[in-house]
């Protein structure tokens, strides 16, 4: 396979010397990128806010394709699982969609009594010139709830710009609630979306450590909690790509520092808890000890359970292609715990710093790729003869078609993979697929005697 000329610098083979990789670049036209759009980035981040209305302003597709596609769960209201579209038609394109949007907000806010409403502007809205912000302002006054525009026109950048737009929207809420009675040992969890209940696993650890969680951005999210977020003493940012913007804003505006963590895999999970404990050791003298105890117990339980999987998985090879490169780092480490080796790794939206770290961690010869496409990915996994592909729904058929095991590590997963408990689930998921006897029958592995 020939890699497209314009993409050549977005693929490197690690030689341990940190070669530079081009990233944060627009997708080449016609390259069949696995990326979606600005709107997608915004929708991912805001989606789990379960007591808000999420109204997609545009033609039907943008809303229809994102209806209930994420695995974010809520402990209460489930407004986020509905798909609202202004369903723009020909006349709206000509005369504008403002009236339609306004009427819709009016009706739906009365009907569902949400705590806030987000209005996502999609591509078409960006060119027909609707003043979404003005309508939101008008409705905020009329309905007495925050109605917030999300400037997520698909063509105005990449998924990352969508993260930024979502952070801007959240920033409209932060700082508007009362912060009385908040503990000096308190945090916001950022970049954790409660996929399959992962936020709950993480929150349980913080509870045991004696930390108050003010809000999670945005897993199992609630508008009232978000409004109080500025009362936290520390922001703990996972999935740095999506939430760095708001963490930085809150640092500037409210002086709240942030740290970057990951909850995937044993080291990274433990490291996250230790970092946070360390931060609060002045305020809470017992916190380090409690954290050590917690980590020790969790790891002890883990090790025994992992051993069985390790025996079967040792020496197997994996390819990783996920949204953010930061997660890929954790996955490489988690796979090592299972005795597996990563030979292809890539992401849709990694930045230069992420890729530098990836190269430092990856073994020599590993293919590292930014903003890849199906044709490339298929050729990489075949070349490296992998046993496992970690990715999302769009990568899954590539793996299966070629007779390769698969683990879904995207936003659609139905099994919690974060935290210590998540490490066991991860091992189970990987194991279930890699050791399946069906691979013994696929052409790659099985040749019928003539």
């Amino acid at each position: 396979m020939d890699i497209l000329q314009s993409r050549k610098k977005q693929v490197v083979r690690s030689n341990g010397q940190g070669m530079s990789i081009v990233c944060e670049k627009r997708s080449a036209s016609g390259s069949v990128s696995q990326r979606a759009c600005v709107f997608c980035g915004s929708r991912v981040v805001l989606y789990p806010i379960a007591d808000a209305l999420h109204i997609v302003h545009g033609p039907i597709g943008c809303a229809a394709y994102t209806w209930d596609i994420r695995g974010s769960v809520s402990s209460g209201p489930e407004l986020h699982r509905l798909s609202f579209s202004t369903d723009l038609r020909e006349t709206d394109i000509i005369f504008g969609g403002e009236k339609k949007l306004e009427a819709m907000l009016d009706e739906l806010i009365d009907q569902y009594s949400p705590k806030a409403a987000f209005v996502y502007a999609t591509c078409v809205v960006g060119v027909i010139g609707d003043d979404v912000a003005a309508i939101c302002k008008k409705m905020t006054n009329k309905k007495k709830i925050p109605v917030i525009p999300v400037h997520s026109e698909g063509f105005k950048g990449t998924k990352k710009d969508g993260y930024q737009a979502a952070c801007d929207a959240i920033a409209c809420l932060v700082g508007t609630g009362s912060i009385s009675g908040i503990s000096p040992v308190s945090i916001n969890i950022m970049g954790e979306f409660n996929l399959a209940g992962e936020t709950w696993i993480i929150k349980e650890y913080f509870k045991k450590m004696g930390i108050e969680v003010i809000t999670t951005m945005t897993g199992d999210g609630r508008v009232e909690e978000l409004k109080r977020a500025h009362g936290a003493k520390l922001n703990v940012v996972q999935c740095s790509g999506s939430m760095m913007a708001i963490a930085k804003t809150m640092k500037e505006k409210y002086g709240i520092p942030f740290i970057r963590v990951s909850y995937f895999g044993i080291e990274d999970m433990a490291d996250a808890l230790y970092q946070i404990a360390d931060y609060f050791k002045e305020q809470d003298r017992g916190i380090i000890e409690r954290t050590e105890k917690l980590v020790r117990k969790e790891i002890l339980d883990l090790n025994d359970q992992l051993e069985g999987y390790r025996q079967d998985l040792a020496g197997k090879k994996a390819a990783i292609y996920v949204g953010g490169a930061f997660k890929a780092l954790s996955l490489i480490k988690a796979l090592r715990h299972l005795g597996m080796k990563t030979v292809v790794v890539g992401s849709q939206t990694g930045n230069a710093d992420d890729y530098k770290r990836l190269q430092a961690l990856a073994e020599p010869g590993t293919i590292i790729v930014d903003d890849s496409n199906p044709v490339e990915l298929a050729s990489f996994v075949l070349e490296k003869d992998v046993d496992l592909f970690i990715g999302g729904v769009k990568e899954r058929p590539i793996a299966y078609k070629l007779g390769i095991g698969f683990c879904d590590h995207n936003h659609e997963r139905k099994i919690p993979l974060a935290g210590f408990a998540g490490m066991i689930n991860f091992a189970k998921e990987v194991h279930k697929s890699v050791i399946s006897p069906v691979w013994n029958l696929v052409p790659r592995r099985y040749h019928r005697a003539d």
């Binding site: 627009r26 036209s29 809303a63 591509c123 063509f155 496409n373």
Partner: protein, 442 residues
Amino acid sequence: MQTNPCKLCAPLGASLVLRGIDGSMPFLHGSQGCATYIRRYMISHFREPLDIASSSFHEETAIFGGRQELLEGIHNVYKQYSPKLIGIVSTCLAETIGEDTQALISQMKANNELPEDVEVIFISAPSYAGSHSDGFRQATKALVEQLCIKGETKQQINILPAFLSTEDLRYLREVADSFNMPAVILPDYSSTLDGEIWDSYQILPKGGEKLESIASMGSSLATIELGSALDNSLSAGSALEERYFVPNYRMALPIGVKATDRFLDSIAKITKNPISTKYSRQRGRLIDSYADAHKYISGKKAAIFGDEDMVVGLAGFLSEIGITPVLCASGSMRSNFGEAVSEVVKDAKGPIVIKGNVDFIDIEEDIRMLKPDILIGNSKGYAMSRRLNIPLLRVGFPIHDRIGAQRILHIGYQGTQQLFDQIVNIILERSQKDSSVGYTYI
């Protein structure tokens, strides 16, 4: 305004059609997101690799137009995929900025800017003007209009399916074979979207209708066009009739005895060949099973929802077995949907609610009132089926929460038989479960 839509956008349907042509690659002229979302949506149904290119509009493109992106994109697709055909489908964005994509392509062709050995055609499919099933028809029509050439009459027929499963498409091919009659099936994604396991990566999956065959559709004996909720403006069959005088037989999907009779009789008439005994036996067995099971379902009520043509087909079938399709609903924006349903439900007992242009909130509201015994439609009805505790039989597109959507046979006596058995058994299971006795003979 829509909440939980019961339709998708036009470029999805157009992309599906393009995947049903040998060596063809869909290319959405617009922003990256549309292509990626559409891929993801279809992959979850077909569980196959499904590449769709995009011209990846950005800010300047949205202001100044996408000529450069289009040209670069076509060349990139050509390099990576070596396709025989690239179908450029306009999205909402391209149409809204007033891009004259057709003119751009013609100009590129005239200037020799495009690779020589690839057909580039244009399909206009703004989704603010139509749904995915309209996009499907628009693409079919555009292909016919742009690829057909008049030749000597050929001993072959054209079959224009609706948005059907891959198993349905295999069935259509088999029927044509049984009449010893070559058929041009447009589109035919039966292998491209339900292929075998691979030993090496197929950049463009094997299969699909051949370009030469499509070119010859103007020379066929006749066209069978499936889908009665279709007007001439969306009809490739009508286009073939007008331009090349190929008679068009438009009919409802062959679901049920009567509709399948009509389908097979038409082919028999066109080809002047008899219907295979294989089918007459299937027909006999089907009616025999109707007799065996009629009491269990007599007077039961069903709600059907989904693509207009599927709803019409199912409504006719249910009416013929004594189940009243109390609700026939579709997100369809077509004006003749209601008429097409009315046409096939004449035998049904009791009032029937027919609604086009609805979303799942409307549908659920009606279902609450009408209290059907069974829901029949795509998997997006699952949430309401769960809330209302009414069983759902999954048919059509999309089916995102079960395996084997490609292999559901909906049409012909055989497909009807499978649907029939499932419907009866769902109803039996319910009454068995609800009974205090738990009878083991029914």
